[in-house]
């Protein structure tokens, strides 16, 4: 347990000294969401219909931006190697890093999302559902993203390749997450969508760390 906590604490400490990284992701999120109206026109009804999808796609892309960094720095300076030879179970190491990633990327996105809601004229009732859906869905981005990040460690074409690997696997998150918000906006019950999102979270919390551990061992072989 102390290994898990010390890794978590270290990640947060480093991020505090490099605040730029976290802010970049948030700004990117808002920029992406702001581009859509510029591309499709400012007609309010059209934007409202797109709101759920745009918020989620922007979240996916913003998370993708931060994923290569998850293991790359530690890989380059030898810390990752030390983590693998330490007595700490690799699963604990990976989970600590994933949790840190979510706290520094996913959670801030959840907090900034209301801004997107405002930009797209989302009705008041949908804001809560947007936050709830993102809260359940963003950890999935970190879990599956970690697997993708570990698989592409030190591989050329990293960022784009990571996107190609990870985005198709995240289709269910997009469907259920955006579906929940759209349902709420139409006055329908979003709980089925959120439950399915939760089920997918459960599945990814098993597969993601397993794949990340296996991939790290392969990368450091």
């Amino acid at each position: 347990m102390t290994g898990f906590l010390s890794i978590l604490r270290r990640e947060l400490r480093i991020a505090l000294r490099r605040k730029g990284d976290v802010l970049n992701v948030l700004v990117f999120f808002v920029v992406i969401a702001s581009l859509f109206p510029l591309g499709v026109g400012p007609e309010p009804n059209q934007l409202r219909a797109m709101a759920a999808g745009v918020a989620w796609i922007a979240a996916l892309l913003a998370a993708l931006l931060s994923l290569p960094r998850l293991f790359a720095a530690d890989y380059a300076d030898g810390t990752l190697e030390q983590m693998l030879v330490s007595p700490q179970p690799l699963a604990a190491v990976v989970l600590a890093k994933i949790l840190a990633h979510w706290l520094l990327t996913g959670l801030p996105l959840v907090l900034v999302a209301p801004l997107i809601g405002l930009q797209y004229g989302m009705p008041a009732g949908a804001f809560g559902v947007l936050l709830a859906a993102l809260l359940v869905g963003t950890p999935v981005l970190s879990l599956i993203g970690a697997a993708g990040s570990a698989l592409t460690l030190g591989v050329r074409g990293g960022g784009a390749l990571l996107g190609l690997l990870v985005l198709p696997l995240l289709v269910p998150v997009l469907v259920f997450g955006a579906g929940a918000v759209s349902a709420a906006m139409s006055g329908l019950d979003p709980s089925a969508h959120i439950s399915l999102l939760g089920a997918f979270l459960a599945v990814s919390s098993l597969i993601g760390p397993w794949a990340a551990c296996a991939a790290l061992r392969v990368a450091l072989d």
Binding site: R13, A76, G78, E81, V85, P87, Q88, L220, D221
Partner: protein, 200 residues
């Protein structure tokens, strides 16, 4: 306690070494020599359990190496494993926590490697040699860890650093520990059972 049987490793299609067998007992020192690219680092990483050998087995206490092995083993590779944003002391404390060391006296460890005055400096301000010393300060905390696997520990060290590290190693062996290291230079470490392997 550490032994290998018919160990062989391949890297990128090239066979680096094959049919390697040796044993290291408490108090024993094994020095691995060889030209650059001969597989010294690969051998050490295989002993650490990072690299899978293409043939053969590494055994610890008679069993093939598994998770428990890592509790009794310390591996220090080429890279100093320090984060630029953290201070020297923070880096060492993290390494100690990762290794599961209880109540590590990190300040004292840095003292013994002559880098105590750098303790509160972010690692990015350190020179190559200073980083190496700060990384090796871990050795001063690890007397209780039986097996030390060190890859080129003396690289980038000045004469004083070499003396300090050699002293730590000698003390470790005298206390019943084991040491396997790779080194270009001759090492001034006293051991009851010194061995050498040359990889071609």
């Amino acid at each position: 306690m550490l032994e290998t049987t018919a160990l062989a490793c391949e890297r990128g299609g090239l066979r680096l070494f094959s049919d390697l067998g040796f044993a290291v007992a408490p108090g024993g020192l094994l020095r691995v020599r060889g030209a650059n690219g001969s597989g010294k680092t690969t051998l050490l990483r295989t002993l650490a359990g990072l690299t899978r050998p293409s043939e053969g087995v590494v055994r610890w206490r008679g069993q093939p190496i598994a998770d428990d092995y890592r509790k009794e083993m310390l591996f220090l590779g080429h890279a100093p494993a320090m984060k630029d944003e953290l201070t020297v002391l923070e880096n060492l404390e993290f390494s100690a926590q990762l290794a599961g060391l209880e109540n590590p006296d990190c300040k004292n460890a840095l003292e013994r490697l002559g880098v105590a005055r750098l303790a509160d400096l972010p690692a990015r301000f350190l020179s190559q040699g200073q980083r190496r010393r700060a990384a090796l300060a871990r050795l001063a905390l690890s007397a209780g860890v039986l097996l030390w696997l060190l890859d080129e520990p003396f690289a980038a060290l000045d004469a004083e650093g070499i003396t300090q590290v050699s002293a730590l190693c000698t003390a470790h062996l005298a206390g019943g520990g084991m040491l396997v290291l790779t080194s270009h230079q001759d090492v001034a470490i006293a051991s009851a059972a010194p061995q050498e392997i040359e990889l071609r």
